[in-house]
């Protein structure tokens, strides 16, 4: 049974245009989405928190501004859902964990401020795998999110709630975070566009950190153009983030329709196996589609690609073990009382963290610990360098690369949750981009087994986000005009 509401036929660009022109009201736009939430949220569980009243009052402000002749911005009246690991001032931010309790951040993440300044309306905080660790949103302390296309299946993770919110029509667009594929994989499983930009293109200030050298915030949307619209609004240098690239906001839409004539699209010949036949079939068709549109297909090699999973599952947990140490019951969040501070730490963290989080904290702590650093974390960082070098070499011959996003279509709830390693394999194709810091995105391209959505992944070198979007737009046009076999 699907839960795709008719709001999914609207585009954010269209809504913004008609709100700015006065043709529609922001309140009406928001109300339509709140109605969709009322209709299907109980079955989908995309949200940890729906902000209906806040959204309507913000929408009213925007309409008032328009009535006074002001321009509320390029996302005027556009409903947006935020992954619940982004700080929203005065509004509970949980990371789908018990340990944060009812904590309300005293500040907004930079992306939240930028969205608001662009006229967007936040309709809620979405569910995720606890602390962004997972590929199915089954690790949430508040229960899983379900795939709107088939509620017996997962939406992917860790940004499952944000993906589902867009897929179900609860919000026009949403933001997720991507550390090893946590935007792209759920986008593929839910049939939406999902983008991880170049590392440093979007500020991480206010994003509750999982893997600091890997995390990036990015958009989910129905269309490539909508994703571009959002990414333009939230990207750009932030002096509050020392890893923020010193560039103005990305310029993506102006070249979107340029097509792919002469573009070199790389096929990675030594890509690790593991994609199911239906997924592989769509990827092959995508190559054909781009070739038909004028691109040149080239064979490239990325020899270290397959080691990405291992490197990632040593580096990310290591950084996470350090990033999550601040959850200690002293200054914010929950605390379990104990006779001394040390016992308080142990009780608070043992009670507050879920199993996957604890598993990764221990793995990461081990990888960094004395005597093991060189063997694990140290080696993983060298593999990371190899992957970056291999990509750089590949990009000497190709402008973009094309691979599967998720190895399979959405799997059933419970299917992989008892086998952590099996779950980790979901990230096989998405991880290397995070390690290299390069942009990548998933574009819906047909369906697979059971009629479930399939996404194909485009990769590009750092700062070539616009090229990647251009190729994505071409694929999208092809799918719309010619259809894609299912």
């Amino acid at each position: 049974m699907t839960h795709i509401n008719d709001t999914t036929t609207l585009t954010a660009a269209g809504i913004a245009a008609s709100v700015r022109s006065g043709e529609t009201t922001a309140v009406a736009s928001v109300q339509r989405h709140l109605d969709a939430i009322a209709a299907s949220e109980a079955d989908v569980h995309a949200f940890n928190l729906v902000l209906a009243d806040d959204a309507l009052s913000r929408a009213a402000e925007i309409d008032a501004a328009v009535a006074e002749g002001q321009d509320p911005g390029p996302l005027a009246g556009v409903t947006v859902a935020l992954k619940d690991n982004m700080c929203t001032r005065g509004i509970p931010t949980t990371c789908s964990s018990k340990i944060l309790g009812d904590w309300r951040p005293p500040y907004d993440a930079t992306v939240v401020t930028l969205l608001r300044d662009a006229g967007a309306v936040v309709v809620g905080k979405t569910n995720l795998d606890e602390f962004a660790m997972g590929s199915s949103t089954e690790n949430s302390a508040f229960g899983p999110t379900r795939n709107p296309h088939d509620t017996t299946r997962v939406p992917g993770g860790s940004s499952g709630g944000s993906a589902a919110a867009v897929a179900a029509g609860f919000a026009s667009v949403s933001l997720g975070s991507d550390t090893g594929g946590s935007i792209r994989q759920p986008a593929a499983l839910c049939g939406t566009v999902g983008v991880k930009p170049t590392y440093g293109a979007v500020s991480r200030l206010g994003l509750i950190a999982f893997g600091s050298s890997l995390d990036q915030i990015g958009p989910f949307a129905h269309t490539v153009d909508d994703a571009a619209l959002v990414l333009e609004a939230i990207s750009g240098h932030d002096p509050g983030d020392s890893t923020s690239i010193e560039q103005p906001p990305l310029d993506l839409r102006s070249t979107l329709a340029q097509g792919v004539e002469g573009l070199r699209v790389g096929r990675i010949t030594d890509l690790p196996a593991g994609a199911s036949p239906d997924v592989q079939g769509r990827v092959d068709e995508a190559f054909d589609a781009l070739a038909a549109a004028g691109a040149t297909i080239v064979d490239v090699e990325v020899p270290a690609f397959g080691y990405g999973l291992t490197a990632y599952y040593l580096i990310a947990p290591a950084e996470a073990s350090s990033n999550l140490a601040r959850f200690d019951g002293v200054r914010f969040g929950t605390r379990v009382s104990a006779p001394d501070t040390n016992q308080m730490y142990m009780a608070t963290r043992t009670e507050g963290f879920g199993a996957e989080v604890k598993r990764r904290i221990m793995l990461g702590t081990y990888a960094l610990s004395a005597g093991y650093y060189d063997a694990y974390y140290g080696r993983a960082q060298k593999i990371r360098r190899l992957i970056a070098n291999d990509f750089a070499a590949a990009y000497a011959q190709a402008d973009v690369l094309l691979t599967p996003a998720s190895p399979t279509v959405a799997f059933e709830l419970g299917d992989k949750s008892s086998d952590p390693l099996a779950m980790y394999l979901c990230d096989t194709y998405t991880i290397p981009s995070n390690l290299a810091g390069d942009p990548a995105m998933s574009v819906p391209f047909g369906t697979g087994d059971g009629g479930l959505p399939i996404g194909v992944q485009l990769l590009a070198p750092a700062l070539a986000d616009a090229t990647m979007f251009r190729a994505a737009a071409a694929l999208e046009r092809h799918a719309a005009q010619n259809g894609v076999s299912s």
Binding site: T93, G206, S322, R331
Partner: protein
């Protein structure tokens, strides 16, 4: 990651140090290295824009970074880097490309449960500090790191952790910029340790890097102490904390060295541990021991990027460095003929009054006499123009006033009498050079009034002169020149 240097013996000891005195007890000598944390004199914290100031209302200088809130990110303070470069150059270090690392451990005053510090690549490395007597102490490194918050313990004796009911944490200090300066274990005497701390402080204050006040906590000294038979390899050391004054540095090191010697002599092992110095009982104590020494799991801080100051910046800082205390002492020593490590030279430079003394010399005065007066009267430099001091010293060296009279004039100048003009003051006090016949008549009278003293003096007892000189001084109301009186007495005896 690379490991800190491990010193086994004196391979790198500066050869010129061999001539200096070493402390020795029961055939053992001490081997001491000092780790000094200094708070940098910046307006804001190392990684966030909260104020860096002392003694304010608790938890009023806080921001998401200082509190370690989720989603917060550090941004490096440029001025902290500038001050770190300044102090590095002043300590003869190589200023180099550096990176930040996370030092992971749990403690309530550590908001992120990790401290951002520098590990593999510190900003300053391989320098040295020369003590006033010329002994050279090597400096391994000087790196940037953030300070922790402060805990107050409630319910225990003396505010200590042990026996407390609970603790209260103030994060005002969390994130304040520190430089940790680590010396090589070159120190061999408690006085050297004290001199190192004093000299380091002078340098830090001179370059404006820190006010370095141990009593306020802006300079904190930890001592690494071990003992050995001279020439042998180094033994296990202990780290001594809670040393809060220069004097305590000497006492604590000496106590600890003797404690370890006793263990060695008894054939017992010295356990590597951190010990607390207790000023009230004059001993070091072991803290309640932890189960495991913490494994800090250092790794490169992913939220910060490399700092590479570059030649231009470094040279700009070097060019702007003020003359360091050692240079100033040398200059003052050369001008006045006093040793560079004499009490007067050291004190006057420490007080920042050397320029004043030299100015008095430049104004035509006697520099050696100027030094003497400035050393004896701390307020002179601020109260009296150097020109006037110069005049006074000229009056003194020509014999127009005696040494005693000069002192009185100095006090009057400081008090502002007669616009601090020494000539005017001398005249007002009736100080005139006594002519020789007037002086001689006073001497004759003293001899007449104290025949016993005169007899003893003639017999060769030099001590008896004191009574005679005293009588003359009294009769002259202090105007007689003591040296002239002595000369006359000797003349008459002969």
């Amino acid at each position: 990651m690379s490991v800190q240097p491990l010193y086994v013996n004196d391979d790198d000891f500066f050869p010129s140090n061999d001539d200096h005195e070493r402390w020795e007890h029961q055939g053992y000598e001490m081997v001491v290295g000092l780790e000094v944390h200094v708070e940098l004199d910046t307006r804001t914290k190392l990684f966030s824009a909260s104020p860096n100031s002392f003694g304010d209302e608790p938890n009023t200088h806080i921001d998401p970074v200082s509190l370690g809130l989720p989603g917060a990110l550090p941004v490096l303070n440029r001025h902290a880097v500038e001050l770190a470069i300044r102090l590095g150059l002043a300590l003869n270090c190589t200023v180099q490309k550096s990176t930040f690392a996370r030092k992971n451990y749990f403690y309530p005053d550590m908001p992120k449960a990790y401290q951002i510090s520098q590990y593999d690549e510190p900003i300053n490395a391989n320098g040295w500090l020369d003590l006033p007597d010329g002994f050279r102490v090597g400096i391994e490194r000087g790196h940037l790191e953030e300070d922790t918050g402060k805990s107050t313990h409630v319910g225990g004796a003396g505010g200590r952790i042990h026996g407390s009911d609970y603790s209260l944490i103030d994060f005002n200090r969390a994130g304040v910029p520190l430089v940790e300066i680590v010396s090589r274990p070159d120190i061999r005497h408690p006085e050297q340790a004290k001199a190192y701390v004093s000299e380091l402080r002078s340098i830090l204050v001179a370059v404006g890097a820190s006010d370095a006040k141990m009593e306020e906590g802006s300079m904190r000294v930890d001592a690494n102490v071990s003992v050995r038979k001279p020439g042998a390899d180094f033994n296990t050391r202990c780290e001594i904390k809670n040393v809060n004054s220069v004097r305590s540095v000497g006492r604590a090191i000496e106590y600890e060295a003797k404690r370890q010697i006793a263990l060695h002599e008894a054939g017992e092992p010295v356990v590597q541990q951190t010990r607390h110095w207790d000023e009230s009982d004059g001993k070091t104590h072991t803290l309640r021991s932890k189960e495991d020494a913490d494994d800090y799991r250092y790794f490169l801080e992913p939220d910060l990027v490399t700092v590479d100051p570059g030649e231009d910046w470094i040279e700009r800082v070097r060019a702007a460095l003020p003359p360091l205390p050692a240079v100033r002492r040398r200059e003052l020593a050369e001008a006045t003929g006093q040793p560079a490590d004499s009490e007067s030279v050291m004190l006057v430079v420490e007080r920042d009054q050397d320029a004043y003394v030299l100015a008095a010399g430049a104004d035509g005065g006697d520099v050696a006499l100027a030094l003497k007066h400035v050393k004896e009267s701390a307020e002179l430099a601020d109260a009296v123009p150097s020109k006037h001091l110069a005049e006074l010293t000229t009056m003194e060296s020509s014999g127009a006033v005696t040494a005693t009279q000069a002192k009185t004039i100095v006090e009057a100048m400081i008090a502002g009498d007669h616009d601090a003009d020494p000539e005017a003051i001398a005249a007002a006090l009736g100080y005139e050079a006594m002519d020789t016949s007037e002086l001689e008549s006073l001497v004759d009278r003293a001899i007449a009034e104290q025949p016993d003293a005169w007899e003893k003096f003639c017999a060769g007892e030099g001590k008896a002169m004191g009574a005679l000189v005293g009588a003359v001084m009294k009769a002259s109301k202090g105007q007689a020149d003591g040296k002239a009186v002595t000369a006359l007495l000797n003349q008459k005896r002969a």
